[in-house]
Amino acid sequence: MKKVCIVFRHSPYGTTHTREGIDFALLSASFEQQVSLVFCDEAVLHLLPNQQAELAGSKDYVAVFKAFDLYEIETVLACKASLDALGIDQNELAINAQIVEAATISAALADADEVLVF
């Protein structure tokens, strides 16, 4: 069993990076890997509620975020600096990600066996 940390850094819908990363995360989790997720930069925008992906011509992959604990993905970190930069407060988030300082994310990156960035 490997500790896999997946970092999302791209904005929703503009590219396919995040969707690919989410597919990889769920796949890894379903293969009993210990998966942790990090949302930083504009990827934190995925954590906002009331999104309608189809209006941007995209499949609604954000809906699956609510199923993270079903996949035993317990660690979901959101970069505080990124949220602050975008003026987003903790209470606005649609899922209960842990809002953490950069140092905590650095520790998660060091702790993981593998880190992939999408």
Partner: protein, 98 residues
Amino acid sequence: MILHHIQTSPSHDNAMRLCLRYIRSGDSIILTADAVNVLLYQEWLNLLTAVPVYVLKDEIEARGLAGKLADISNMKINVIDVDEFVNQTLHHSKVITW
């Protein structure tokens, strides 16, 4: 001891900035492809003085930047070949490609 791998230029991608937000002492950075352009910006050089930086020889020579690199005085740039790149990946605990 993480080797952070940057492939894109900071002029159009945030990878380099993000890497520097999460990098820890003991980590290193390797610049390939357009990321070698980081070395042409004084603002980025100033941020990298405390970090071991590697860059691929072919990428530099492909772009005719060897002379420019020679001008960089305030820090050491490790110009390496692909074999040494592989060596460094083994030397570090893991590689993160941003």
